[in-house]
Amino acid sequence: MRFTITREKLQEGLAAVTPVVPNKTTLPVLANLLVQTTEKGIRISGTDLDIAVSTEITADVEAAGGITIPARKLSEIARELPAAPVRISATGDQRITLECGRAKFKLLGLPKTEFPSFPAVRFEKALKIGSGDLQRLISHTAFAASTEESRPILNGVLWEIRNDLMRMVATNGHRLAKMEIPVSGGQKAEHIIPPKALEQIKRLFPAEEQLEVGVGENHLGFRSPFTSVFTRLIEGPYPGYDQVIPKDNDKHAILDRAAFTSALRRMSVVASDQTHRIRLSFNSGMLKFAVSTPDLGEAQDELPIRYEGDPLDIGFNANYLLEMLRFMPTEEVRMTFRAPERATTLEPEGWSDPAKYLCLLMPLRLAD
């Protein structure tokens, strides 16, 4: 194997793939990148066995072949290289030579046969979606997934595809985020995807690109002309989120997102750093905040709001609220309630977007 590549192209390819290479691994080859020649250049691939990323970059290939190269060392070298074409060649299974200007490196790699093969994902009947739509769904929902390991299903994000819409749902059992985007010509499918893979998808594909989504036994593949991401799926069934979204909340509040956020942040200073509990008292025209933490202190604040319904005192984890507000796309948000122990919803108010966005938050018990 022998090829010449520009320093910039090499850095670009490495930047795309290296983030999935695990820092610690019991399987040594996973610390390496697979570099193979293709018709137009080279393909660099990396994996941690849950997620695999592969990207193709243009290069001048002199001799076809493939080898694995230590990922960290190659990246560090690429970063320090002078501005000159980079010439990489492999002798035998393991020896790599890299030359750039007058600099010359010899590295030890591993045979390409040791590199795990990519999951079998079929792209024949691939679904075609816009990368931008996928990115919007991911950035508005993935934050709500659980990081706690007791219920693996909640560690994933549910991705539902219907004929006319795409939907993502994530929850940790305390709060939930759901977004829907209308699409055309979809097909029915449901997958539960680890947020880590979604993060790579969001990072790697430019918003304007069209993606092909291929399905495997237990994997999903996302493919653009140059780059592909493969991910393991979490096996379902996902909890029936639709049943827990309240339909009969009879109290409504419209709040200024920025003002609500800053009041919450102020109150959070004296909220318990474990539970972040805060008391909200909704009255017509006014929202009162109160925090009282034993051993720490108390705080109060007020915010003019529009509110319809009987007065309501309700407790929340302020961090959950703040996180949701961060992703609300409008200047005002609508909250709905029924009772202090029932689910509360948050939605963008006055959003002129075909998409629909809803967050759900379960309250914290208040001490009386």
Binding site: E148, S150, P239, Q274, E341, M362
Partner: protein
């Protein structure tokens, strides 16, 4: 008619004085140790600075106590053997606020009536007098030459009271009682040199000691004494000082307990219990700590004239005294001295606070609102809860110490311990034990206030329980609710959980609840601790991060700060250590750098 039965019926007669003395002797002099006690206390009252005690055959053959005290002139020596002759009290008024040891004036005549007693005494070096008494009868007064002081020899104790003699135990057992007694006296009067000899062999020689710890060394063993934690606390008029065992050491040696009230050794169950209450949750149930506590309070607050052997006292306000003792011990346990350490540990002159700044124990405790805790069932009410009820409304302001607390760089080792460097030592925190302690105190606080935050669940948990677990759940239902578990029966042995506490991001509510119920059903021991404490401890144990959990730097930091805010950071709820320190001295020693 001759009086019928004149020989059969004994006439009532006043007992001869010597017989009365012999009977009275039984009250004060029941075994050799009590003779030693009377004689040594007399010597101390005479202002002795050096006391030699010689014993033969467990005190049955000979008890000899020599001192360098004031001594007595001849007439006093004669009087001393008369009943109720005492130089210490003139009338009943003096009984209030007795400051000296022996005051009943019974000792010498009583002893003299049941032995061969010889008193040699001199008020100054040179001319003295020897008074000999045998079975209560004066047998001779002779002038002698001796140094200032008094020597009392008691030979053949109980030779004329065979019944009493028969009840004496073996020489070894009597000797043990004497050693124990002398140990106590030596701790009370640390300024006096003591020497104890048995059958010609020296048991110990104690030079005058500057501190309790110095005196304890030869008595309990130097290493044991070094590892004790100093107590020193004043509350109102009550001063509590002493040395107590570290929770990690409790149970490793035989238990020794000594309570002094105004310098007098007393048996006081209440004080010991108060001290032990302070150890609550730091040592395993059923084990009890060794301790020496000196309680000092004004004479009017205490009545020592309850028992002839003077081992019991009566406090005017016992509750306040016990509270002061508990607080003092608890404070001592909160200092870094109380932390388990590897090898020997140098003691700082002033007890340092654990994490660099003084721990505002009282501030924290007072910050707990004094609202009654309606969740308690009557049997579950703890002394703590009762105290809280009596407290004036507490400020809710934050203790000022927190912002000053500097968190040192922390690293996790073995996925089990958090290591950091502090001043004079390498310190290791057991992450599980530490978290357990943090959660325990938080849960106890929540139970007392009844305001545990309960996070409602989007998807209620359904738990299928065994009949025993269901019963345990039912039995603790109100307490579970107090901790934030909101659940209802769901037919059969199932429960539906609607809300759970959320003490930390890794918390697995379902597993915690299951394991807690399993632990509650497995535990059939009649528990000495209240049910709410046991539940809080169990849930804390199950909810805490485990050994093997990888902690992020900010998690370690949060745990460090939370632990620093607890009242007993160095001890977990099972009596194990949460913190271990390896001092530089110890490291240097192990690397041969010394």
């Amino acid at each position: 008619m001759s009086p019928v039965g004149s020989t059969a019926r004994a006439r009532v007669a006043i007992l001869p004085a010597d017989v009365a003395d012999r009977i009275a002797a039984g009250e004060v002099v029941e075994r050799p140790a009590s003779v030693v006690k009377e004689l040594v206390e007399n010597a101390l009252d005479a202002g002795a600075m050096a006391i030699d005690v010689e014993i033969r055959d467990g005190g049955r053959a000979l008890i000899r106590v020599s001192d360098d005290g004031l001594g007595m002139p001849e007439e006093d020596a004669r009087l001393a053997i008369a009943r109720h002759a005492t130089s210490k009290i003139r009338d009943a008024e003096d009984l209030v606020g007795v400051g000296s040891f022996g005051f009943r004036g019974e000792a010498l005549p009583a002893i003299g009536s049941v032995s061969h007693l010889r008193i040699e005494t001199a008020t100054e070096d040179g001319a003295g007098v020897a008074v000999a008494v045998s079975g209560g009868t004066l047998v001779g007064v002779t002038p002698i030459a001796r140094r200032r002081g008094t020597t009392v020899s008691v030979e053949a104790l109980f030779y004329n009271t065979p019944a009493r003699q028969k009840f004496l135990r073996g020489a070894r057992s009597e000797w043990r009682a004497i050693v124990e007694l002398m140990g106590t006296l030596a701790l009370v009067r640390r300024d006096v040199r003591f020497r104890l000899v048995h059958d010609g062999k020296e048991q110990w020689q104690l030079p005058a000691a500057a501190s309790l710890r110095a005196r304890l060394g030869p008595l309990w063993g130097g290493e044991v004494a070094e590892r004790l934690v100093a107590v020193d606390d004043v509350q109102g008029v009550i001063h509590v000082a002493g040395l107590i065992e570290r929770p990690t050491d409790v149970g490793s040696t035989s238990r020794q307990v000594l309570v002094l009230v105004n310098g007098r050794a007393v048996r006081d169950v209440g004080i010991v219990r108060a001290a032990e209450a302070a150890y609550k949750s730091t040592i395993p149930a059923g084990t009890r700590p060794s301790l020496v506590l000196e309680v000092t309070l004004p004479g009017r607050e205490v009545d020592v004239n309850v028992h002839p052997a003077k081992a019991e006292v009566r406090f005017v306000d016992r509750w306040t005294v016990e509270r002061a003792v508990e607080r003092a011990v608890r404070r001592a346990l909160g200092t870094e001295e109380a932390i388990a350490s590897v090898g020997a540990m140098p003691r700082p002159e002033m007890p340092q606070a654990l994490f660099g700044t003084p721990l505002p124990v009282e501030v924290l405790r007072q910050a707990v609102p004094s609202a009654p805790a309606p969740l308690f069932e009557p049997e579950a009410s703890s002394p703590d809860a009762a105290e809280d009820g009596g407290r004036p409304p507490a400020p809710t302001a934050a203790p000022a110490a927190d912002p000053d607390l500097i968190v040192p760089p922390l690293i996790q080792v073995h996925r089990t311990y958090i290591a950091f460097e502090r001043g004079d030592a390498l310190v290791l925190i057991d992450q599980h034990s530490a978290h357990e302690r943090v959660l325990y105190e938080r849960f106890m606080g929540a139970l007392e206030r009844g305001d545990a935050p309960a996070q409602r669940l989007l998807f209620p948990l359904t738990l299928h329980l065994s009949p025993a677990e269901a019963e345990a759940f039912e039995g603790h239902r109100a307490l579970f609710a107090g901790l934030g578990f909101d659940a209802e029966a769901f037919g059969g042995n199932s429960v539906l959980v609607h809300a759970v506490p959320n003490p930390h991001p890794r918390f697995d509510a379902e597993r915690c609840l299951r394991e807690t119920l399993a632990a509650l059903t497995g535990d059939r021991l009649p528990s000495t601790i209240a049910r709410h404490e046991r539940l809080a401890a169990t849930v804390a144990c199950k909810a805490a991060v485990k050994a093997g959990d990888l902690l992020a730097p900010e998690e370690m930091r949060a745990l460090f700060l939370a632990l620093a805010r607890t009242t007993l950071p160095a001890h977990d709820v099972h009596g194990r250590a949460t913190i271990l320190q390896l001092t530089w001295d110890e490291l240097d020693r192990r690397f041969g750098r010394t």
